[in-house]
């Protein structure tokens, strides 16, 4: 009980310090923007000349806040604080499950699902289906600069039908029909994967491994280091392949070769382990960098 109190206190102190420092270094935790006016002329030739005006905003560093044309952005400042809140709320899970974490997690699930849907809608369904099937309507609504001689590609009715069948799964009845597009999906991936994996991972890896055990330099002397390297790679690949060979029992010489193979695999895993660890720490320092620099401005 005692140590948890200490951790809690530390966290509180840290949070408190953060807020104080925000107060001390005015302008931190606030976002400033430069207004960039946009003036757009109507593109159509038939309608009378008309000009549309609006402004976009560019984020600038807090140093420039007193320059002309720079203003305080409420929405972005709020955003920065929301982001900081989300970060801290997720970190709070390290102390233990709590309502704050549960709340942010719930928000995360909702936002990410909607995000994926929105992106898929605009980039695929609108751009590659709607615009292909109904180019006239698409030009009038979303893509005014589409060329006018594009005709609707009726071939795209097929994926539309398949997609509708896929969505049938949500229906209470007859959702076995969703298996048809799924079968198309799975068949296509199976076919493409079979070819690409065999080409790149099977043939490709064999090709890069075929090399001489012993390497000579131009003047005919043997290059020990290079030869050793080559031999290690060839022996490594072969012994690992023996380990993965299931038709023979691991007895006699096979036992030793496969043992060597598993050691090679362990070295591989050790290195990959280290790289993963590095990656995770980099992510953490990225987040803390956000908290300290962008939000608190320490």
């Amino acid at each position: 009980m005692k140590q948890s109190t200490i951790i809690w206190t530390l966290l509180m102190v840290f949070g408190g310090l953060g807020l104080i420092s925000v107060q001390l270094f005015r302008g931190k935790g606030e976002v400033y923007v430069r207004e960039v006016p946009v003036e757009a002329k109507s593109s159509s030739k038939t309608s009378p000349e008309q000009t549309y005006r609006w402004s976009t905003y560019q984020e600038v560093s807090a140093k420039e806040k007193d320059d002309p044309g720079i203003s305080f952005s409420f929405s972005r400042t709020l955003g920065l604080w929301v982001a900081a809140f989300c970060t801290l709320a997720i970190f709070s899970f390290l102390y233990g499950d709590n309502p704050l974490y549960k709340f942010t997690e719930a928000v995360f699930v909702g936002v990410s699902a909607a995000y994926a849907m929105v992106v898929g809608f605009w980039t695929e369904i609108v751009t590659n289906l709607y615009a292909k099937l109904l180019p006239e309507l698409a030009r009038m609504s979303f893509f005014p600069d589409m060329e006018s001689d594009v005709h609707s590609d009726l071939l795209y009715l097929i994926p539309l039908v398949l997609s509708v069948l896929l969505l049938w799964r949500l229906a209470p009845k007859g959702n076995w029909i969703a298996r048809w597009p799924l079968a198309f999906f799975i068949g296509a991936t199976a076919g493409i994967r079979l070819i690409s994996y065999l080409e790149t991972d099977f043939i490709g890896q064999l090709q890069s491994t075929v090399m001489p055990f012993i390497v000579f330099s131009a003047d005919g002397s043997m290059l020990w280091f290079k030869s050793l390297k080559n031999t290690v790679v060839i022996v490594g690949v072969t012994s690992c392949m023996v380990y993965f060979f299931f038709s023979v029992e691991h007895e006699g010489i096979v036992k030793y070769i496969s043992r060597l193979g598993i050691w090679f695999l362990m070295v591989t895993f050790g290195a990959s382990f280290a790289y993963t660890v590095m990656g995770r720490i980099a992510l953490l320092s990225g987040r803390l960098d956000f908290l300290f620099n962008e939000w608190l401005g320490i």
Binding site: V38, Y52, W54, G79, L80, V82, C86, T87, I90, F103, A106, V107, V111, S112, A114, M117, V119, G120, N128, F142, D145, L155, Y156, I158, P159, S163, L167, R169, W176, P181, L182, F184, I186, G187, A188, T189, A190, G191, I192, R193, Y197, L198, D201, F202, Q205, F225, K229, V232, V233, G236, M241, Y243, V267, T268, F269, S272, A274, V277, M278, R280
Partner: protein
């Protein structure tokens, strides 16, 4: 009907696509199939969203524990969906200002952009950053040198972890660049931690990864074949006509 047709569809699609890899004339077919495939993938997002909706609504209506959080999820979902689909706060394409829908849905300053930048980004990044903490705890409690294999793994991991930082310079920076014996080319500096970790990556990791890849490639090929031939039909589920 419920099982034969899907089997037929997948077999035909798969074998046709295998064939087109070798026939330049029909390479376009594969491309067409891929373009459709992309569309199906986009529709699958809707499927995922629908599933989510169903689950959360069930939770709320049953007043299960934590149904309030389910409501939060739903609200977050619908608000994001609305601002994204309605392009809230997005300006039209500057070349065609009279088309009010022609803008980019993720335009900087738009509402959807705000959700992305200030909610989605920090949440997903922090989720992964948590793993750094779990690794530290696992390092203390779980990564044990139980047997030869685990010992090799941990030793290599330590070498690479040190070799990929400035620690290698501190610990082994003094190793001279002199050959150990003869003209063989192996020098003391090859045992500097950063060189050592590079050698491990180049010469020892490569064969291991290659063998794993060769194995997985064959595994994928034979599994794909099983699917296409209908030997493996688990993807069809076993709920009907088992």
């Amino acid at each position: 009907m419920k099982r034969t047709v899907p089997l037929l569809i997948s077999a035909v699609t798969g074998f046709v696509l295998i064939g087109t890899a070798f026939i330049p004339m029909f390479e376009e077919w594969g491309n067409d199939a891929m373009a459709w495939f992309n569309l199906l993938a986009a529709f699958a997002f809707i499927l995922g969203g629908g599933n989510l909706l169903k689950m959360q609504l069930q939770k709320i209506s049953a007043q299960q524990a934590g149904w309030g959080y389910a409501a939060v999820t739903l609200i977050a979902f619908f608000v994001t969906l609305f601002v994204g689909l309605a392009k809230v706060g997005v300006h039209p394409n500057a070349k065609f200002p009279e088309y009010s829908w022609s803008g980019n849905y993720l335009e900087e300053g738009g509402a959807f952009w705000w959700f992305f930048e200030y909610i989605f980004t920090p949440l997903s990044a922090t989720m992964f950053a948590l793993l750094a903490f779990y690794i530290s705890s696992a390092a203390f409690r779980a990564f044990r040198a139980k047997n030869t294999e685990a010992t090799i793994l941990l030793i290599i991991a330590v070498i690479v972890l040190l070799g990929r930082t400035y620690a290698s310079e501190w610990l082994t920076g003094g190793f001279p660049n002199e050959p150990i014996f003869g003209e063989g080319g192996i020098t003391y500096s090859d045992f500097k931690l950063d060189h050592l970790s590079q050698i491990i990556m180049d010469d020892f990791t490569t064969p291991g990864m290659r063998a794993i890849k060769i194995g997985i490639a064959l595994g994928v090929a034979s599994t794909s074949l099983k699917v296409l031939l209908g030997v493996d039909r688990s993807y069809l589920g076993s709920d009907q006509e088992a």
